[in-house]
Symmetry: C2
Subunit: 321 residues, 2 copies
Amino acid sequence: MNLESYLEKNADLIDARLDSLFGGLPGELNKASAHLLCAGGKRLRPAVTMLAADIVKKGISDSVIPAALALEVTHTFTLVHDDIMDGDVVRRGVPTVHTKWDEPTAILAGDVLYAEAFELITLAEADPDAKVKAVALLARTCIDICRGQHDDMSFEDRDDVDPYEYLEMVGQKTGKLYAAAAAIGGILAGGNVNQVAALHDWGYLSGVAFQIQDDVIDFMADSSKSGKDRASDLREGKKTLVAILAKEKGLDLSKYRKESLSEEEIDRAIAELDEAGIIDAVRETAIDHVNRAKDMLVIFPDCEERRLLGEITDYFINRSF
Amino acid sequence: MNLESYLEKNADLIDARLDSLFGGLPGELNKASAHLLCAGGKRLRPAVTMLAADIVKKGISDSVIPAALALEVTHTFTLVHDDIMDGDVVRRGVPTVHTKWDEPTAILAGDVLYAEAFELITLAEADPDAKVKAVALLARTCIDICRGQHDDMSFEDRDDVDPYEYLEMVGQKTGKLYAAAAAIGGILAGGNVNQVAALHDWGYLSGVAFQIQDDVIDFMADSSKSGKDRASDLREGKKTLVAILAKEKGLDLSKYRKESLSEEEIDRAIAELDEAGIIDAVRETAIDHVNRAKDMLVIFPDCEERRLLGEITDYFINRSF
């Protein structure tokens, strides 16, 4: 099966399960909790959990579906709370929870999802010891994500963020949840220490590559697909890898930090960054992470799951939205 | 040992453990997470977890200390988020987290504590199956607490809240966490279904009694001890059991809903409520819960832990702050 068909089929399964668990429940708090969770999405993290389980033990993925859901629920809880902190009004084409309801309800809706995620781990069919390990890993991962979000916010007030700090931050904010998605699949399938570590590192490195690609996408974003204006990071002076490397090369991007940018201005910024070798450097960093990620999978036999996980990594840096 | 000495000794132990785990860590997010957690308190929930473990299996409580900490950490996370929602500025004699830092940091600090709680459950020394059950119960409890907080907020806009809805709300908001504190101690100690259910129900009923007593305390509160102005619930028109029963009896308390109340006005309100039998009715409801709570413990042999748990229930409605 090709990756696109696999992801589509899997997203249908995940959507149906999420809908049966969280859709149509009465009460505003339930509705607010389900709002973003049941608004679709590619369901990449659940797919990773299921592929990781199957790479360890072919055919076991059905028994880890609740844990796969837990990863999506965790991701959604972080989005609901992040949207409050970042003041974002639209997400996945729908109003954010604190916009549609209010901040207290959004805090609580995120908190409900948070607990649901841990409950879902306990509902997987697996050895109790493995479930305890999965709970511990998910907990540690949530703490890392919070730290990443906190660092991301604190970077806004700093002018001296270096590329290593940036990579550490996106590693916490995005890498760790992909790492957990893969490792939890492996743990629940009864994987050994080496297998779980390889899956974890594959997820971490792939997640970092995913986030770096986001910086590049910003320059070419078609807002109807990405939901973001083209070059919004540039306008807002966000501390992306592009901005950090530009600063290190002595490029002054502050002139682009304004209310709106014309297509000409954006093209000029890209030309400037291109000439200084920054776009190439960012792409190279992403590709380096992709290669290291895929290297992690070589301990597994050459199978469909290994191919699909590798294709997910490639997709992370080849996507344009 | 009498209850006061037991609680003091236990609070010292819990304080020391919390301090070694969360105190003095670098970074603003760690400081914000530890702020309220390490600001003292009676540590009643951890005491309940440890007594519940020992009532099931004498001498086992040391092995459940991480889970006892998890209950305090959970309680603190709910306070940090509730303080944002309720706009409260002082708690336990210190500025609330969103006041000392800001709202985004307080949301994240609460989220960090939330994950720490689940991690702590996994660190208890117990059968893995029991730990999975404890995680599932804690998750369900957190969802119930969120629902209770949401109901509490929605009651503010309603004039038709009845006593049953009120008891359900405080059951979710306060009862369920005491229920979980006791049940998790019992589960991790290897208690059977009847023992765990008895501990759960003891905690629930005791917690409800605790919250009802809060309504009464409001009228006699010494602000230096409770941190609240005397009769602040009355001034704010809060939907307490007192207010709900008063409305049912046709008493109009709206005249007391104003910026400040003199001691004479408060005394007049109390006299009015007393004459209508409302103070008695509230006390009776609390005492009824206390008696039913203590009845739950009769399945256990007459031991020190049973006596102390019973004394905790009594303390809940005899405390004056």
